[in-house]
Structures are given as structure tokens and as C-alpha cells.
Amino acid sequence: MTDLTRLTIAEARTKLAAKEITAVELTEAYLGAIEAANEAINAYVVVTPEKAREMAKASDARIAAGKAGALEGIPLGIKDLFATEGVHTQACSHILDGFKPRYESTVTQNLWNDGAVMLGKLNMDEFAMGSSNETSYYGVVKNPWRANGSNLDLVPGGSSGGSAAAVAAFLCAGATATDTGGSIRQPAAFTGTVGIKPTYGRCSRWGTVAFASSLDQAGPIARDVRDAAILLKSMASVDAKDTTSVDLPVPDYEASLGQSLKGMRIGIPKEYRVDGMPEEIETLWQQGIAWLRDAGAEIVDISLPHTKYALPAYYIVAPAEASSNLARYDGVRYGLRVDGKDIADMYEKTRAAGFGTEVKRRIMIGTYVLSAGYYDAYYLQAQKVRTLIKRDFELAFHAGVDAILTPATPSSAFGIADEDLASDPVKMYLNDIFTVTVNMAGLPGIAVPAGLDHKGLPLGLQLIGKPFEEETLFKTAHVIEQAAGRFTPAKWW
């Protein structure tokens, strides 16, 4: 029998509908793959085999009854940031030890309503703060990709490192992820997978552990563009429980695949050429431009002059929001408590023991920039710069640009415990230089694999769209995917 874990969601959907395979068989194939691989990859922090089997059995019953949902019987991995009722939900932090929510996040509930099967919870950077999955309390995730002829372990990117690694290593058919500054797109680029951060307000944030509320958005990581379109259709919704959820119907994203790019204008922003960027990323970008031109799109040079300020503005806005959001972890209502001599001492000891280094660093920055006397100089200034960053995009779109093509990351995956990056937090932050602008402006962005570098590691291109025009991104990314092909790591685990 062929390996069922190799099927895309679209392929599995066809085989399930035709009753060539059962949901139980498909789920068992994934549970077996996880059992064999997770010790090496560490993508899952919790596997839920009983729940998965039960859900798969129910899927088979619905298929037999002719009542199959859009994701009926499809086994998915869920980032540990999403609240899953009765199941480990800790944002991969020590401070949420033992937390099992009594409710389900809207995004995951939407998936279960469409018949999807939960395999378990996926590793991530603690509270989604990181670009390498090295800040997780549950240890690093290993990238299924290794450089040619090397047995050195690489990071899968972050913060959705477990999601990206699980999808790339065939340990789930697709995964949920979240993106605050690049946490879907950067790991997707590092693992040869497709990741889309939809427009802010497209997926409900209800039941998703908050990092920076004005930037956080959920989205899928998938094996190909079609699977990403299928998953986003189910994840997205209009939700009364999230006041920033937008009242727009969710389109059939899959229907946009295969549509012509004729007459489309693709903007190429000159500010996305940065010092020290490898030549092969520039080459890949030029290749992407050529593919889109060949497909009938018109290529135009554009300028987004405030691009270089997006990352510094992000490192004020995101920590400020995080310091406020993470104030709730006080040792009283959930998770870890370390006793102290009085209540303040208990708070301080609990938070000192429960938060990791990167989380503490960001809470400290956020507390500082919001503190009396510094608010105007830092936070207010950053929010004004954010207006200018958004305006740059608006002017480009107003001038007739339909989508913007950029590299997804300034490099391919780097090594675990890279000394250069560990010694300087700002260097690690630079990983998000091409992705963070999109969050600051609330726009949709997709990362699609476009080639391999000289070491044989995947590189991605990013497409940025107008608000709520995810369909444009899917059809354009699909053209890149058709031209570039798909990339699969050689199995070493």
C-alpha cells in the first residue's frame, strides 16, 4: 500500500469521498509516522491518539451517511497557541503548566465542524516570540531539511516551527499556525511549505493565546497552495466573539487557483534588497518575476519608503502589547505558581520562573516603552510610523498594483544554537525583515517555496496582497508553485 501520509489534503479528500481509503486508515498512518519520527523532530508537544481515532471514526460514519464536511477525515496538527478543550494548551510556556482550557478556540472549532481530525498540539516558540523555535519550553524542533551532505541540525524557523516541521516531515496533512511578525511565512520558507497569513480580522482570534493583539493572525501551513486554500476556507469566519473579526463572507479560495494572471500588475519594491542578502535570494526573486511575467502579469517597480522602519516599530508595538497581554499570568488563575512571602513576591517569583529569557526580554521592553515619560517617544512614535508603513502600501495599491512580490526571508534555515544569533537578539529579529511590514499594515501575505539554495535548502518567495484579497495571493502563488515545482526533504529521521 502507498504511504497515505504522502497524500495532499486535496488528494486525500478525493480518495476518502471515493471510499478508496477510510479516515481511520489515514489517521493511523499519521499516528504511526508521528510515533516513528517525533523523537527526532520534536514537532509535537502532545499527541492525542485516542481523540484522533474517535474523530476519524466519526468522520467515516459521516462519509458513509453522505454528510461529509469540507475537511472530513483530514488529520491536522494544531499549534499549541490555540485553545483546545481538555487538551494541553500552553503556548509552549512553563508558566501555563497543566493548563487545559474548558473551551475551544473559534479557529479549531471551525476545523472540527468541517470534519477535521486532531492529531495533537504542535511545538512553537514560547508565546510565539521567536524566529527559530528555540525559545520553546519543550525544546527545539529540528528542521526536516538538512544541507546537502551535512548531518547538522537546522532550525525550522519560528514561531510556528512545529507546524512547519510537521507538515514538511509528513507528520500531519496540514497545520494551524499564527503570525505576528512572520511566524507563519518564515518557517514555511525554511521548510519548503506554503504558509499564508490572512488579512487582520479574517480569522477569529477568540481562544488563541494573545501575544500582540493588533498584529496576531491565524493561518494555515500546508504542503501546497491548494491545501492552504482549503484550510484557510475552514479556519476563517465571521465571529461575534472577536470584536476585530470582519463582517465579510469567506470566499471559496480554492476556486481562484488556475485563474489567469493576464492584466495583473505585480509590484517589486526596491527597499526589499538588503545589505548582506545572499546573491541566490536576489536570483530567486528575479526568477519569480520572470515566472509571473511569463504568466501574463505586468511587472512594475515600486517604492515602499518606510520599509526599513517596520522592524524597529514592530519591536516597540509588539512588546508593548505583549507586556499588557502577559500581565494575566500571575500565578492566580491558571498555570504555575511559585509561593512567596506576600502576593507581590508570589507574582514576581512565579513570573521569573515561568517565563523564558526571550519572553522576559520582550515584557521588559514593552513595560519600559509604555512607562511614564517614554510613551510618546517610543510607543506613540511607533504607532505613527505604522500609519506611514500602511500608507506606503495603500499608495502602491492605489497606483494600480494588485500584489507585491518579495523574498520571504533574507536567508535559508540556519543552524540550531547559532552562536552569532544567540549573542545578539537584534540579529535574530532581522529574520522577519521582509514579513513584518505585512503585519504592521494588517495585509495578507503568503510564502511559497520557489527553489533550493546552493546547500540544497528551500527558499521562499512572498506575495503581499490588498486587504481581504487572499484569492489574488492564492492564484499568483499557484503560478509560482507550478513553475517551481514542489520540494520534499530527504528523510534522515
Binding site: V332, R333, D339, M364, T367, Y368, A382, K384, V426
Partner: protein, 95 residues
């Protein structure tokens, strides 16, 4: 702007995170590195620019002012480290 050790300790206190002398020293260097990086924002001309408060131009949704949820005391305290008869327990705060 840069922070000194006393400021680091004051911010840690505000953030309710206990820090050792050694950690405060390390944090001082890291925070100054990050603050140095974000310093470049001051060169942007923001005259007449409104600060962003929402990425999507929409009015905040409001729900009807009615009770729509509740009677879940057990669910609410279920994950608390220390409780007693559906109350959260904390160290004594009044003498």
C-alpha cells in the same frame, strides 16, 4: 536613550518579574541593544501623522448589553493552582 541598572530593576519591578543582580546586568546590555536598534524611528518625520489605532478601518463591533454567558464558576477556577469553594486563593493582602 539608554537604561542603567537601576532602571532595569525598576522596570522588572513594574513588570512583576524577579531578577537577580546577574540577570539585571545581562538584561541591561540586551535592552540597550534593542533600544539602540529602535532609536532610528526618531529620524522619521511624523508631523501631522495620526497614530494607528486599528489596521482595518472599522467601527468596533458591540454586542447587546445582555447577559449572554455565565454560571461557569467551576470552569473558571478549574485551572487555578489554589482554590477553595470556587474562589481563587492568594496570599494574604490585608492585615
Amino acid at each position: 536613550m539608554s537604561v542603567d541598572l537601576a532602571t532595569v530593576k525598576r522596570v522588572a519591578r513594574l513588570a512583576r518579574i524577579a531578577v537577580s543582580e546577574e540577570e539585571a546586568q545581562r538584561m541591561m546590555g540586551e535592552l540597550n541593544g534593542i533600544l539602540g536598534f529602535v532609536e532610528q524611528l526618531s529620524e522619521v518625520d511624523v508631523a501631522g501623522v495620526e497614530p494607528m489605532t486599528s489596521v482595518t478601518p472599522m467601527a468596533m463591533k458591540k454586542r447587546e448589553d445582555v447577559v449572554s454567558d455565565g454560571n461557569k464558576a467551576e470552569d473558571i477556577v478549574a485551572n487555578a493552582p489554589v482554590t477553595d469553594r470556587n474562589f481563587f486563593l492568594v496570599p494574604k493582602v490585608v492585615e
